[in-house]
């Protein structure tokens, strides 16, 4: 899953301009940005979490497919399997647009369709689910863009808002399409690129999450709750990546790390289903690549792979993402 983001990048060294559309971040940090509180990953996007900007009167479209699956998960901090659910797979199709509104300000809009199910007959015989998840709207602003003889430093604040667009049930884990709550991501991202093409980005995100509605009006969260409303824990997300532009800026490759830490929440109880109130921690590593057929615009392809290697109340999920981008002026 991924989020995505869009991007475009100005490669303005030596008057060469290059735009990159939808780059990865979405793909890169996706999970995290997304949330996943437990078992599922929302595609939510986060946003603009890339160090690239679309110019004014330019837009970029992304269509991407993600396949994620896991057959182990952390129950609290204990890694386990569960034949009641066996291997759970989540497939996502995401459509997204990035639009250069004015110079230095980009607007993002995205909507994912998710299908989640056990990939084989399981001990649980539980039905999977599919449907539209959460619509995302985001803004990213280039606050600093300072060039020196060796490279360029940029700083980007961004904000993304997402909210469910269908009546999917968040309290149906591990198959729930999403967390069923509105979410606001406040992000600050610092980017430094050497003129040679090597770059690094670090980012910090405060993920505010609201409440979700279950279809039962009692649940246990370290005590009784007589309500259908569940408090979905907010979280911090940290990201870091190193990458490089290659082949005359047609290709770039990155490796990345991302971590998510819920601020509150309860643990999944022994052999019990997760619920949206769970405290979710995840550490993930991934690789990302983007190829642009023509640096001036038109079609591009993005691909990424990532895996969660450590977690708490989280799936040990591995995801593969593939997408095409199209960039144009308007």
């Amino acid at each position: 899953m991924f989020t995505n983001t869009i991007i475009d990048q100005k490669h303005n060294t030596r008057n060469q301009r290059m735009k990159i559309c939808f780059t990865d971040l979405g793909l890169r940090f996706s999970l995290f940005s997304t949330i996943f509180v437990c078992f599922f990953v929302q595609i939510q996007a986060q946003t603009p979490n890339d160090a690239n900007m679309m110019d004014k009167r330019e837009a970029c479209l992304l269509l991407a497919y993600t396949h994620g699956s896991f057959d182990q998960y952390w129950e609290g901090s204990k890694l386990r399997e569960n034949q009641t659910i066996a291997t759970v797979q989540r497939q996502t199709i995401l459509g997204m647009a990035a639009i250069g509104v004015i110079d230095k300000l980009n607007l993002y809009v995205g909507l994912p369709y998710v299908k989640a199910e056990s990939s084989e007959v399981t001990g649980g015989h539980l039905a999977g689910v599919s449907g539209l998840q959460d619509v995302l709207v985001g803004l990213k602003y280039q606050l600093i863009n300072a060039q020196s003889s060796t490279g360029t430093f940029s700083l980007f604040p961004s904000i993304t808002f997402s909210t469910p667009v269908s009546n999917y049930l968040s309290d149906y884990q591990p198959y729930s399409l999403g967390l069923g709550t509105s979410e606001i991501n406040w992000r600050l991202m610092a980017h430094y690129k050497l003129n040679k093409g090597i770059y690094t980005t670090i980012g910090a995100v405060h993920v505010w999450r609201g409440y979700t509605e279950a279809e039962r009006d009692y649940y246990y969260n370290n005590g009784s709750f007589y309500t259908a409303t569940m408090d979905v824990p907010s979280a911090w997300n940290f990201e870091a990546l190193v990458g490089s532009w290659l082949f005359k800026n047609k290709l770039r490759l990155e490796v990345n790390y991302s971590s998510l830490r819920s601020i509150s929440g309860d643990d999944i109880r022994a052999y019990n289903a997760p619920q949206p109130t769970n405290k979710v921690h995840m550490d993930r590593v991934g690789a990302f690549g983007q190829y642009y057929f023509n640096p001036e615009g038109g079609f591009g392809i993005v691909a990424s792979y990532n895996t969660i290697f450590q977690g708490r109340n989280a799936p040990k999920m591995t995801s593969l993402n593939l997408g095409i981008t199209y960039q144009f002026g308007y």
Binding site: R80, N82, Q83, T84, A86, V121, T122, G123, G124, H125, L126, A127, G128, I159, F161, T163, P164, V165, S166, N167, L169, D171, Y172, T181, S182, E183, I184, W208, G210, Y211, E213, A214, E215, R216, D217, Y218, Y219, Y220, G223, S224, F225, Y226, T227, T229, D231, R269, A270, Y271, N272, A273
Partner: protein
């Protein structure tokens, strides 16, 4: 509706964005405060369940309100009230003038905490909770619905008997409340004319702590702390002096002992059978009917849930055969084929309404179970109709005896007929609710709900239509969930009513008007 809510959430979120915080207060118990609708001055003559009468327990006459001893107690109470901390003041508000509701909530919370099914070991075997080594793993108990309703039944029956005894002595000795004997004491709750000796709240504190400590042995320390906190609040509320409380505690301990003695020999200990016994029950059913239910989990659980719960001692039904229903439709019959089509149709067309109903009534693992759900309904009606403490525990006692008899009757039926679940008979079938580890016919939800609803319909006649509709919805919810046949639900509903009729016959003749 849903879109509206999403829009609402979106607006809230944007609001939070601007103003930083929007924490909601999510209720973990029900707040209330009211004046009793009646005092039931004759309550001491009602027929209890386990003790012979309210007079069985010997409670000495209290000191006169004009005696030096009583005045000393009043003075000690005043000092304690004067030195009350904010935390103590909050406790007084929390425990209320009808604390059986609070102990019922505590029981439901422990049920939800312990309602966790043991998972498989690494080698594919299962270890069951053991009362002899409660720490586990897995921890004892697994508070599944039969365990839960049994715990609630003993709790409520002991509370009921205890308050009948309390009422007997209250109206025998007629010692008035502390705040009526000293106008410097202000009562924390709404005024009433029920005599104070012995304290009914102290009966409830002690009996609840004692019964729940045996049902949830790992919670002994926690329950002791809650009971101390409750007992302290009784004095601080201004209604009782220490001797009222001590007399109440004595009654509480006495009836708890009685209840726990019955519990220790009611057959629950043998309900979870070893595999050979479970296999022979299954073989018998197969020989009788030509079918048997199988657990389909991976790895398969060797024994279903409590195969011999049907042999546990009944409260009011004369024998378990009295409410055992007719056999289910035979495998291969037209009636079953029709049901298979209904189940397939529901699975292929999960409407919002059916999904909502399936989830609302699910009360599955990790929750307070269906009996817990009906106790919650009872509590809400008790408060709505302003029942006094005695009427309150009478309601819980008949409700939980009826539902426990319902569970015994239902489990007898389940293992007598051993009928397969939809996932056993429909290839590739998938459900939106988890399939439980016991045979299908009849549905536990159906029997619990109608055996409980009939009691609530009797105690709260204005709510009869509502609670009976709820019971029907709870029953069909299991069919919507894909885990029960329609006849599991409809026959189970009738079975629950039959069980309740025996409970009601007792209730109607216990002396309460």
């Amino acid at each position: 509706m849903k879109m509206k809510r999403n829009l609402f959430n979106a607006i809230i979120a944007i609001g939070c964005l601007m103003f930083s915080s929007c924490e909601q207060d999510l209720p973990s118990y029900l707040s209330y405060s009211y004046t009793y609708s009646g005092v039931d001055a004759d309550g001491g003559s009602w027929k209890p369940v386990l003790i012979s009468s309210g007079a069985e327990i010997q409670i000495d006459a209290p000191a006169d309100v004009n005696s030096a001893a009583y005045k000393e107690e009043i003075s000690a109470a005043k000092t304690a009230i004067k030195n009350m901390t904010d935390a103590q003041r909050q406790n007084v508000t929390y425990w209320t003038n009808n604390p059986a509701n609070r102990w019922n909530e505590i029981a439901l919370e422990l049920i939800a905490k312990y309602n966790l099914i043991p998972g498989p070991n690494a080698d594919g075997t299962y270890t069951l909770p053991n009362a002899a080594t409660p720490e586990g793993p897995p921890a004892f108990p697994f508070a599944h619905p039969p365990y839960a309703v049994r715990a609630l039944a003993y709790l409520s029956v002991a509370q009921f008997d205890g308050l009948i005894a309390a009422w007997h002595y209250k109206y025998l000795y007629k010692r008035t409340a502390a705040y009526k004997n000293d106008n410097e004491i202000k009562f924390a709750y709404n005024d009433n004319d029920i005599p104070a000796y012995p304290s009914d709240a102290a009966v409830i504190a002690n009996v609840s702590k004692d019964v729940l400590s045996v049902m949830f042995p790992l919670e002994k320390t926690y329950l002791e702390r809650r009971a101390q906190e409750h007992l302290e609040s009784i004095l601080l509320a201004g209604g009782n002096v220490t001797s009222d409380i001590e007399a109440g505690k004595k009654i509480g301990s006495y009836v708890a002992t009685k209840a726990l003695a019955r519990a220790s020999t009611d057959g629950m200990r043998s309900a979870q059978t070893p595999k050979p016994v479970s296999d022979s029950i299954k073989t018998k059913a197969f020989e009788r009917f030509g079918w048997a239910w199988d657990n389909l989990e991976i790895p398969a659980r060797p024994v279903g849930l409590t195969p011999m719960f049907g042999k546990v001692k009944l409260w009011n039904v004369p024998n378990v055969e009295a409410t055992r229903p007719i056999p289910p439709p035979a495998i291969g019959s037209e009636e079953l084929k029709k049901d298979i089509e209904i189940l397939k149709d529901y699975a292929a067309n999960v409407t919002n309404e059916r999904r909502r109903i399936a989830n609302y009534w699910q009360d599955g693992l990790g929750t307070y179970t269906p009996p817990g759900h009906w106790n919650r309904f009872a509590k809400e009606f008790i408060i709505q109709y302003a029942l006094n403490p005695l009427r309150t525990v009478r309601t819980y006692a008949y409700l939980n005896m009826s539902m426990m008899d319902g569970a015994i009757s239902c489990w007898d039926t389940k293992y007598y007929y051993h009928f397969p679940r939809p996932i056993n008979l429909i290839p590739g079938f998938k459900t939106i609710a988890g399939t439980p580890n016991f045979p299908a016919y009849t549905s536990g939800h159906s029997v619990f709900s109608s055996s409980g609803a009939e009691i609530l319909a009797y105690v709260f006649p204005n709510e009869a239509t509502k609670v009976r509709d709820w019971a029907k919805e709870a029953a069909i919810s299991r069919v919507y969930g894909g885990i029960h046949w329609t006849f599991d639900a409809t026959v189970g509903t009738e079975q629950g009513k039959a069980v309740a009729s025996y409970t009601l016959a007792v209730a109607r003749n216990d002396g309460a008007k």
